[in-house]
Amino acid sequence: MVEKVKRLPRVFDYFVEKDQFAGGNTFCAGCPAELTLRTIPKVMGKDIVMLSCPCCAAPVMHGQNLGAWHKLAYYACVMTGVASSASGISRYYRKIGRDVTVVCFTGDGDANDVGFQPLSGAAERNEHIVYICYDNEGYMNTGNQRSSSTPIYAATSTTPVGKNQKGKTTVAKYLPLIMALHPVSYVATATLSHMEDYAKKLLKAKEKSKQGFAYIHVFAPCVIGFRINSDAAIQVCRMAVRTNYFPLWEMEDGVFRFTQTVGDPRPVQEYLSLCGKFSHLKEPEIAEVQKMVDERYSMLKALVEATAQKETASKT
């Protein structure tokens, strides 16, 4: 008999509310987006108003006639209208003096592509909302089509691998940094292997949304789209962080900082080899991806260093 731990890990302290979602739902087995979604009201409470649009979460977030899969107050949007609808709701509650946390939850396809205009507009107006984007690097609900968050060389159903093409031909947008360059209160990246980091950021986003726009970009690799085993999602998230493919950072009132420093980053090859959608990659492509990962990390590091003085200045 092994000695039992005295108390559950600290991350469980963040879960102030029980799961607001019904037990069995339509998410695929092993889906990290499901974990992303269920965690939100556990940390933020059940009095939030959530919004979503057609995406992987929609079959669970939207009701079916009278029935619903969760107990939250909810507003279903069209893909072009998530951040804008949230702005309207948030402004109305502000007008009548009610303190309500409004949370948008969409995939990367909506945040990057068809819903980017309202997202950018709401961010520029520093609307008091939380926008959580779960990034499974494609339009997964409709069958793994590419989005502008799909990385270069990824095999998807609209960027297949064949004689004339080796997956996606263009580099992905890096939305978290784009959002951080808007005049917003808070931006963070998070993933499911680092649950305490994610929970902290959810709580921070809730607080910051009382003063302005809070954006969280969650890396949630799709089991089917990434061609991984149903038990592999957490491991893929962990490797994404360890290789600096998906660094964990936050920007709060203009100050950038890493929330997880990876002392000795693994070569990105170790992340790419876990994902079936990259199985056709050869040395030159892998080197190219490594270069991009390194450059992106340097850029973030430069931002952290440049804004560190701002933080110390404000503290003195």
Binding site: P9, G63, G67, A68, M195, Q235
Partner: protein, 89 residues
Amino acid sequence: MKKLTYPYESCWSNADELLLYLETGTWRTSRPKVDKEKCNYCGLCALYCPPQCMIDKGDHFEPNLEFCKGCGICARECPRKAITMVREE
């Protein structure tokens, strides 16, 4: 007379009236088996379970087999290798 059974003028769902659930337990091809002797009650299986179906039994966790989809994340993430995925009959 028309037969109108839906209670509202526009499409609202009401979880207090009807909370839906799928018997996702019927999806799985293997189920998690927890070895209580090896489990140190660290909680990581409950933390990482996507449908959050790990039930706290006080000194170990056990899956709610009504909803468990058999993804295997709990077995993979358990630091003590206390969970094994066993084929369903």
